[in-house]
Amino acid sequence: MQKGGVIRRLQAEKRLAKRSMTKYWELYLLLVPVIAYFIIFNYFPMYGVQIAFRDFNPVSGIWGSPWVGVKHFARFFKSYAFQRVITNTLTISFFQIVITFPIPILLAIMMEELTFPRFKKSLQMITYAPHFISVVVLVGMMFNMFNMRTGIVNHFLVLLGMERINFFAEPGWFKPLFIGSDIWQNSGWSSIIYISAIAGIDQALYEAARIDGANKVKRIWHVTIPSITPTIVILLIMKFGQVMNVAFMKALLMQNTQNISASEVISTYVYKVGLKGGDGIQGGQFSFSTAVDLFNSVINFALLLTANQISKKLNDIALF
């Protein structure tokens, strides 16, 4: 009985596939290069992560190098770099979730409450703009404006009667600069999604709240925020899937030998160990680098799934 059901289902599937093939065969042809792209540049590398469990040597190649189990993972956990890169990565991510993440939400609400339409337009235009500045230019601007002797920031500090600060040579300043510049660059752009969520709220809700005597603050608290909560939760889940990914290029560009203790994160470490080396790290350790990278991806993915599940249980909002 059950077996017959399975067979019937399979036959039905087959018919569907056949009909789709006849109707859409040109579209399947269009998909061929696309599928090839994803196989070559995404799935093949996923298959290649097995070098994390081998001792790569160039002569035998990826598939011929000997298996060594979790040797490279063990080495990473025991290495002196482990604590440093994990601490730096998690600290930056923590601040990104606690400080950077809520700011666009506030900004969107502030903009939507503005009573001057023209000022609102210009504020949006100005705050979106920094998003399009390249990471090299952004770090270049910071280097120049925060330069110890010639930067405008230090000129202001002197005017205010304070000591000059060598921002890029002091490890303590790395994280504030890193996070602050991120807020400056991306808050406006990230607010768009909340602005569009707010725009979709039923005006009748505000009207009802107004009649009930709610002032603006109360209306924001009881209407706006609950209405955009699904958007916030979805973006927060996605953020959790990125916890271990601190903007690689920005961190790398902002690094130097003086601030390395605060600026070395997992992604920059993976890059240096794996390819070009630097800052006292030997490059070209393909297997070791892949192991660290894989550890990183697995944690990210696990956090994404966990956040998704928790959210599904708590408030029925989920990414998938």
């Binding site: 696309v34 504020l123 979106y128 990210n300």
Partner: protein
């Protein structure tokens, strides 16, 4: 009773509006100031910039630092390379994105759910740096312009917004009608779907285009021949590299430094001009893209 409450309510709201407006003005200034400063600094005498005389507006206006940029041969080469990447890269991106998005937008296409899931999975999990590096190298792309185009030929986020647009903005009846009239799928795509999709094509062109112009990662990993450096790599060499020496010691270098420092702000402007120049006109497209993506990821 209610009248009193009304007054109270409107007083609260007025106070809120005042505080909110002040906060918005503060945000406006904080975001705008660095942008204005860079523009002003680029038009000022380097000495005035470095000694802190330029605070908001240009001081001793001069175009010297712009002229000096042309002494740097690498800047011109980088500009040229980036334009090539921008053109060919974006063309390939847009074609492939449509080739992915249109089939996936057909609701009765068999396998659509599976393929969408497999493609989307790559947004959340990847093989990582080294395995990808091996693939690119084994394909013979290392140190070629192709390495900066082909491995990033498709961005799944852009596929999703394009697919969403196709699903929501093209009436299904139109496509079915064309199908009944005997048009094949490619003709339908070419003569019905694409002409109605100019907005989304503009949006993904802009996203991919800005991505290529600001591209740094691919070159960092795959390019070692300086003749093939895109603009961003050249920028890094000039904007950031000399800092190391700057941090160590500075006294003897004053003059040399002045020369090199002088062009930095103007270089930032020159490098950002293509994006800045189109930005005010296309801002609404950028924003629209985010809104389409927000419908459902």
């Amino acid at each position: 009773m209610t009248g009193k409450r009304r007054i109270r309510q409107s007083q609260d709201d007025r106070l809120f509006d005042i505080i909110n407006t002040l906060l918005c003005i503060f945000v406006f200034i904080v975001v705008l100031y660095p942008l204005i400063f860079v523009v002003s600094a680029s038009f000022s005498d380097p000495l005035a910039v470095l000694s802190g005389k330029v605070k908001l507006l240009p001081v001793d206006i001069t175009l010297d630092s712009y002229k000096k940029i042309f002494d740097y041969k690498q800047v011109l080469t980088g500009y040229k390379n980036s334009l090539i990447l921008l053109f060919f890269g974006t063309a390939l991106n847009v074609v492939l994105t449509i080739m992915a998005a249109y089939p996936l937008s057909r609701r009765d296409l068999y396998g659509r759910r599976l393929l969408t899931a497999l493609f989307t999975f790559t947004m959340f999990f990847s093989g990582g740096l080294i395995p990808t590096y091996f693939v690119v190298r084994d394909l013979g792309l290392y140190d070629t312009l192709g390495a900066m185009i082909i491995p990033i030929a498709i961005n799944m986020y852009n596929v999703i917004i394009t697919r969403t647009y196709f699903e929501n903005s093209i009436p299904e009846s139109l496509i079915e009608a064309a199908y009944i009239d005997g048009a094949n799928n490619l003709a339908t795509l070419r003569f019905i779907v694409l002409p109605m999709s100019k907005a989304i094509i503009a949006i993904i062109c802009l996203y991919y285009g800005v991505g290529h112009w600001n591209q740094y990662f691919q070159a960092l990993i795959y390019i070692s021949d300086s003749a093939k450096y895109p603009l961003q790599v050249v920028l890094r060499e000039i904007l950031l590299q000399s800092q190391v020496q700057d941090l160590v010691d500075t006294v003897g270098f004053e003059k040399q430094l002045l020369q090199a420092e002088g062009i930095k702000y103007s270089l930032i402007i020159v490098a950002s001009v293509p994006v800045l120049a189109i930005y005010p006109f296309v801002q609404r497209y950028f924003v629209k893209g985010v809104m389409i993506g927000a419908v459902k990821g």
